[in-house]
Subunit: 481 residues, 2 copies
């Protein structure tokens, strides 16, 4: 049994700041009041314990209140990515069998042609209040969130993240990062990703303020870091670079109280690490995924240069192994075990277990060095990480194949100075098919960040004898350009 996070936190430290957004702040007591009222309004809309709803909204205080209201009302939350197209969102609404979509008024217009019940935030807030008994504890295996992530097939899978998963993740993290009563975590990561959502969880577990931004703004972030109004932040390389540029422009450094820049989505370039050292920004590189409810391994700032390119060591409650490998340095598939690993999926993948003998195969290829530091050498399913968003080539290929003029298609990533990597499409097409036509076809079917940045027309794609696409060959084509 796990105490109801917000109820317990508001009891323990009612007067601490829980959240700040723009010029407003809320203590945990005020935060609880906001969330409880909305939970009671959700009840008025007929939702009951265990119902599953989908949630789509920007990173605002209102969104955070609604998230906590859903938890208080014992609803399972399908966190929808606001960058997705209507088609992609409809797939997730359909697959998750959500009984309703709670959507911010500004994003409401994004959803078209679905039969699911739609409830804009303004309607929720206009509802009556129906008091109900709020649970003081939760079962550890209760599903809190569901986040979709793709894989080899290109069909997004809805990953369950339980109360136990989230708690284990936050506790493992605190043993790694430490905790100070004055900590403030700056959140510019999307709340629909585990990188952002996990900050909300840490907040209620630690009694820590979240400083929330709707959008990443390098100048405002640099202000906070320079002045010491925040002590920790999560970034990807792209946003890290922007913040550092801003500080460099000002000839400023991070405030002495700034303790952790948690960098996910692949290794931070050595040049960035050196600049960060100059700026007195401690970079902690982390490796995690939706299936592990955030961090699974983290590289300490002290090891950043000594262990360049490493994802660090597992957090305290986790284990990492290279499957089938005994010797350090030998490469193989990275397997993860721990209380933070998802118990499984919902929807069309609900009967597939993600675990093999208690271990999660990540699909990533890596090795452990002689000291036990993890290095990822090849991403799962040729994953393309672009500005912190995961892009699975198969998902783009599926869309291309749906075009009548496409006879074959293959996608891989190309390095990009700003985004880390961007998708490039190779196609075998009928005569007369143009790049513009393919771009138009993809629009509406693929979120903007997944859109191929180039279409290359070729005569044939590299496939092996069993017709499997050799994406590594494609990568060589790209690199030779």
């Amino acid at each position: 049994m796990i105490p109801n996070w917000l109820i317990q936190r508001a009891y323990l430290t009612p007067n601490k700041i829980a959240l700040s957004f723009k010029n407003e702040t809320w203590t945990f007591a005020q935060f609880k009041e906001q969330a409880v009222t909305r939970a009671q309004k959700l009840r008025a809309n007929g939702f009951r314990q265990g119902d599953r709803i989908a949630l789509l909204g920007p990173s605002t205080a209102e969104m955070v209140f609604i998230i906590h209201a859903c938890m208080l009302a014992d609803l399972e939350i399908v966190m929808l990515n606001s960058r997705l197209t209507n088609e992609e969102l409809k797939y997730q609404l359909d697959d998750s069998d959500a009984s309703a979509l709670l959507v911010s008024d500004e994003l409401n217009k994004r959803i078209k042609g679905t039969n699911v019940r739609i409830l804009p935030f303004s309607s929720i807030n206009k509802s009556e209040v129906v008091p109900f008994d709020i649970q003081d504890s939760w079962q550890a295996d209760r599903t809190i969130t569901i986040m979709y992530t793709s894989g080899t097939t290109g069909f997004p899978k809805g990953v369950r993240q339980t109360a136990g998963n989230h708690v284990s993740s936050a506790l493992s993290s605190v043993l790694n990062l430490g905790l100070d009563e004055n900590d403030v975590w700056l959140c510019t990561m999307p709340l629909f990703h585990i990188s952002g959502f996990s900050i909300l969880v840490r907040s209620v577990l630690y009694g820590m303020e979240v400083r929330l931004y709707e959008k990443f703004d390098a100048s405002l972030v640099a202000d906070e870091i320079q002045k010491g109004t925040v002590t920790r932040m999560s970034v990807v390389s792209h946003t890290l670079d922007k913040v550092m540029q801003e500080l460099e422009k000002r000839d400023a450094i991070a405030h002495t109280t700034f303790k952790t820049m948690l960098a996910g989505g692949g290794p931070v370039p050595i040049d960035y690490l050196k600049r960060a050292t100059e700026l007195q920004i401690p970079i902690l590189q982390t490796y995690g995924m939706t299936e592990t409810s955030s961090q699974t391994a983290t590289l300490s700032a002290a090891d950043a240069l000594r262990k360049m390119g490493s994802a660090g060591k597992p957090l305290f409650f986790n284990h990492i192994k290279i499957n089938g490998i005994q010797n350090s340095g030998d490469k193989g598939e990275v397997y993860i075990r721990g209380p933070h690993v998802t118990p499984g999926y919902i929807g069309r993948f609900s009967d597939k277990t993600p675990l093999v003998d208690g271990w999660l195969p990540t699909g990533d290829i890596g090795y452990l060095d002689e000291e036990g530091y993890l290095y990822i050498v090849d991403r799962r399913s040729d994953l393309i990480i672009s500005g912190g968003e995961n892009i699975y080539p198969a998902e783009i290929e599926n869309v291309l194949f749906a075009h009548p003029g496409i006879r074959d298609a293959g996608v891989c990533g190309q390095e990009h100075p700003d985004w880390g990597s961007v998708p490039i499409a190779f196609v075998v097409a009928s005569d007369g098919v143009t790049e513009e036509e393919l771009a138009a076809h993809c629009e509406g079917r693929l979120a903007r960040y997944k859109m191929p940045k180039k279409f290359r027309f070729v005569d044939e794609l590299p496939r092996n004898a069993s017709n499997k696409l050799l994406r590594r060959e494609l990568k060589l084509w790209v690199d030779s350009e």
Copy 2:
């Protein structure tokens, strides 16, 4: 599943200091080596996974290595109190059915007339090394330690403390106290009590140095606190006072890095709190017991004066209620629930469950104020807390009743400026029985700290109609003296 504490910690932070004792220090890698070697030597002595042994030794580095060796060898450890008499120790050896007693050479002579196999530390260290597969993970319900505590009957009960109990306690504590990578916890509390043992657990979970002292020495402790070589410490009021006296004598204050003085064993007097404020020592008063594997509630330093006499609020993963009481301020028995609560006892009490509907009745009487702060107004079973040691009147009465000249006996506590409280015995005795005779009778049967400080000869004891001793009446007799 919980990672094997020391193995995981030595993997994650091999070069951090784990332990310092006198002029020696050990990193976690060195610490692990010491413990593994001793575990292999224990194997050579025939111990196998799941065996239960008893352990008796002073607070030395060797003792800490043996404790961890027992955990690595998957042994259940009955932690014996070195202040107990031979008779009291024999009861616990017998009740626990320990397959052996591991004992420091200096304490070996304390044990007489038992059939249990005795293995002095020097013999263990002379043994061969028998390598074995050390588990990388433990079941959460694995019993790590067993500590004896008395109760209403006066017969000590062996309380099981599982891996899950200890981990929950350490994690709840870190969310309350915070964690810094430079933390060092000064340990002068006995390791056989949960107050001391829990520091060892925090050390391996947090990757934190323990600065260990065999005996409490006010002058040395004051040095550490003044110089900032330690950041946290556990005390009882008695030792707190001595440390403060020492600092006051020097006209010194605590170093700015000193963060937590965790004070257990009953409320800290207001005079002490005021002196601590002057000395810049943050006092966090805590309420806990053997059955809750250390802290269950803690009062923050900021609340110390505003909530004088309170034990604070529960730690994050715990719940506290006053049984049967709805209104704040109303008194009743304190009930505790959480993952830190023991699953039960061993030995003669093994078939008694400590829980009622999932809650642990503490026997203590208290109330929660309107903000949810816990106040203990009357201790369980008229518990006498003397210098941090729990003394149960029934245990002393049982010994007195064994004297042929005693017709009735009753014990209660008397306030004492140094120890908080000391036991006073009221006896109805045959003619000719003297105080000296009773003292001689108790010696050898009762640990020194349990010895009645006075024997009062009376004609009759206050008993109610059902012959139950009215200890509250005794208390009035004492107070009126």
